[in-house]
């Protein structure tokens, strides 16, 4: 466990052996400027006031912590609380980070915003923040993701963002990230790149984590009010890892156990999955050292998941650190199990979860018997499922 007095990451952006700043020289100055600005503003009274104002009155925070009694009963497991990030404006936790970064970018005098998106939730959240802050917004999105997340594509367009389809590689999140980095390298002087997860070069994994920490901070307060004690477990899905780290980090110096659920796609053995923590190897992608799906020559492999937001072959360096130090435990559930998780939450609680969050539900169901009945578990319901109804309906053969 990390001692309270050791800052994570350290000055050079490392969480243990993970993280760092593996980027082209053209971006180094912008990364330094971003870190300086972030350190200046994160405790600045006006900045904090503005961010808190928008989080409360615009995003709708705090989001509810809901006791999911029917779900708890149905899986014969522990007492389950859902942290309702699906109720935040735009329908997912991504807005916590984009509001923070957009307000920061405005302070830095940047007028043009770019972002990558997989499921489209980060793209929508970025387009939303840009519309509100009157900033120019360009979203890179893989062609394959554009196809399977049509609703979010339309939302971004209606919010005034320009969508740039990415046709290289697997046409998903990894390739959209490459293309966003290329744009940033080119337009570095006046553009801010809002990375959507705890990946990328330092200081991004730290900044995104800090903005997402509101999930865990609120949960801590809310569970104390409801249960009078901290939970026994926290559980969340892990793609690149922003909702889970936002939930976990405020508890890092407690005894609360962390469980992260990755996407096993068609099954780990099929080779078509996104389980970089479960079976990835150490490597460098998108500016950071972390676990990575790669072949014997160090070429990055394409990930697969039914949940576009988990469809990424790497993972945030802080999760890699949690895995290596055994602070958190990680396992993966398949597309099929995730769909069952989706169905379970819909039928028991009347909530359609995003397919990403459905992985967390499925993971919880899978290990339900390992909990004690009196255990209290908080599950991060990272987003709502409206964007996924086409995919799910197709699978369930609904007319």
């Amino acid at each position: 466990m990390n001692k309270k007095n050791i800052p994570m990451p350290n000055k050079t952006g490392y969480f243990g052996i993970f993280g760092g700043k593996f980027m082209p020289e053209s971006t180094m100055r912008a990364l330094e400027e971003l870190e300086t600005a972030y350190r200046k503003y994160k405790n600045d009274k006006d900045f904090v006031k503005e961010l808190n104002y928008y989080l409360k009155d615009y995003v709708g925070r705090p989001t509810a912590l809901y006791y999911a009694q029917q779900l708890s009963k149905a899986i014969k497991g522990p007492k389950i609380y859902l942290k309702r990030e699906d109720l935040a404006h735009t329908g997912a936790h991504k807005i916590n980070n984009t509001m923070g970064q957009a307000i920061l970018a405005k302070r830095m005098g940047k007028k043009r915003i770019i972002a990558e998106t997989g499921a489209g939730q980060h793209g929508v959240a970025t387009a939303t923040a840009c519309a509100l802050m009157k900033m120019e917004c360009h979203i890179y999105m893989g062609k394959e993701d554009i196809r399977r997340q049509r609703l979010n594509v339309l939302r971004m367009k209606l919010l005034g963002a320009e969508i740039i389809p990415v046709t290289s590689g697997s046409c998903t999140l990894k390739d959209a990230t490459n293309e966003a980095i290329r744009d940033w390298v080119t337009n570095i002087r006046h553009t801010h790149y809002i990375i959507g997860s705890i990946i990328g070069p330092h200081p991004y994994p730290m900044i995104v984590r800090d903005f997402q920490c509101i999930i865990g901070k609120e949960s801590k307060k809310q569970i104390m009010e409801k249960e009078g004690k901290l939970p026994d477990y926290l559980i969340a899905c892990v793609g690149a890892g922003s909702n889970s780290i936002g939930m976990f980090y405020p508890f890092h110096d407690t005894n609360v156990k962390f469980i992260g659920i990755e996407a096993a796609g068609y099954g780990i053995k099929s080779g078509k999955h996104a389980a970089s923590l479960v079976i990835g190897e150490l490597g460098i992608l998108h500016g950071a050292k972390s676990y990575l799906l790669q072949d014997e020559n160090g070429q990055v492999q394409n990930a697969h998941s039914i949940a576009p937001g988990l469809d990424y072959p790497g993972v945030g360096p802080e999760h890699a650190f949690y895995k290596k130090t055994k602070r958190a435990e990680y396992f993966a559930v398949t597309d099929k199990e995730a769909l069952e998780g989706f169905d379970l939450l819909a039928k028991t609680e009347g909530i359609l979860p995003a397919l990403e969050a459905a992985h967390a539900i499925a993971g919880l169901k899978k290990i339900a018997r390992k909990f004690k009945k009196k255990d209290v578990v908080i599950l991060c319901l990272s987003g709502r499922g409206d964007k996924d109804v086409d995919i799910v309906a197709e699978t369930f053969k609904l007319q």
Binding site: M28, S168, R182, I284, N297
Partner: protein
């Protein structure tokens, strides 16, 4: 003495500048790459950069991205490229520099990479996503074996970062002409001259300019003040657009000769 250092020493003695040619290895296949290297060397390139294909080439524009994807379809690996170098080393004496992203090197094992590359006849290495701050391990092995580590300075580099790039670079310093990715550009910023001259004031190490240079006129202009120029995408295009191998060898040879001549005047 490292071949790169010898090359610059000779060029400087004769008041000449370096023409550095890049090609993506394994595009379309490694056998062709070996032939191209010979052609490039024979037609007057002073240094050859060997691009190692990577799945996520985030500093490269469309031309080199596509070339890399083609090479990867043939399973071209760093190990196979090092092997190819060892085969052609006896045929040419031109300095060879590997240009690779960091993950293939990291995965190969840094120490083994430096040893194997040096043994095969590689003279230097350029890793666009490895800034000097992250490179202590590779430098430790590279210094011992005199494998040159070449770093970048860019128009957005602070004075302090320029100094870092200079102090860590061996062989030469790669000055990026403009912010952005690799690829041909019609217009290059006028500020390059001033930036290169400023670098030359604080170091005697050669400053070579790359990114965007594709025509003899651009090459000539930049070579008038820089110590060398680097051309990549324009060469890859010659290799990719030729209708036959014969035509490719011919057009590649003509282009290299043209560029080498532009730089030497």
């Amino acid at each position: 003495m490292n071949r790169i250092d010898v090359t610059f020493k000779d060029l400087r003695k004769n008041g000449k500048k370096a023409f550095i040619a890049y090609l993506t290895c394994g595009d379309p296949d490694l056998k062709t790459t070996a032939e191209c290297i010979k052609v490039i060397s024979d037609n007057g390139a002073d240094i050859i950069e060997l691009g190692v294909p990577f799945s996520d080439p985030l500093a490269d524009g469309p031309t080199i991205q596509v070339a890399s994807q083609r090479a990867l379809k043939n399973n071209v690996s760093l190990a196979a490229i090092i092997k190819m170098v060892s085969k052609i080393r006896s045929k040419i004496d031109t300095p060879l520099v590997l240009m690779t992203y960091y993950n293939p090197v990291f995965h190969y094992d840094i120490r083994n990479f430096v040893q194997d590359a040096k043994k095969a006849g590689v003279d230097g290495v350029i890793i666009p996503d490895l800034p000097p701050e992250e490179a202590s391990q590779i430098e430790m092995f590279a210094r011992k074996l005199e494998l040159a580590t070449i770093y970048f300075a860019s128009p957005t580099s602070s004075e302090q970062r320029k100094k870092i790039a200079i102090s860590h670079s061996r062989g030469f310093i790669y000055y990026v002409s403009t912010t952005g990715v690799t690829g041909k550009r019609t217009n290059l910023p006028d500020s390059i001259k001033k930036d290169v001259k400023n670098l030359q004031k604080i170091t005697s190490k050669p400053i070579c300019v790359g990114f965007g240079i594709s025509t003899p006129a651009q090459a000539k202009k930049i070579a008038s003040f820089a110590d060398g120029i680097i051309v990549g995408s324009a060469i890859v295009e010659k290799i990719d657009t030729a209708k036959s191998k014969r035509e490719m060898i011919k057009s590649l040879g003509t282009f290299i000769k043209q560029m080498a001549k532009a730089v030497s005047i």
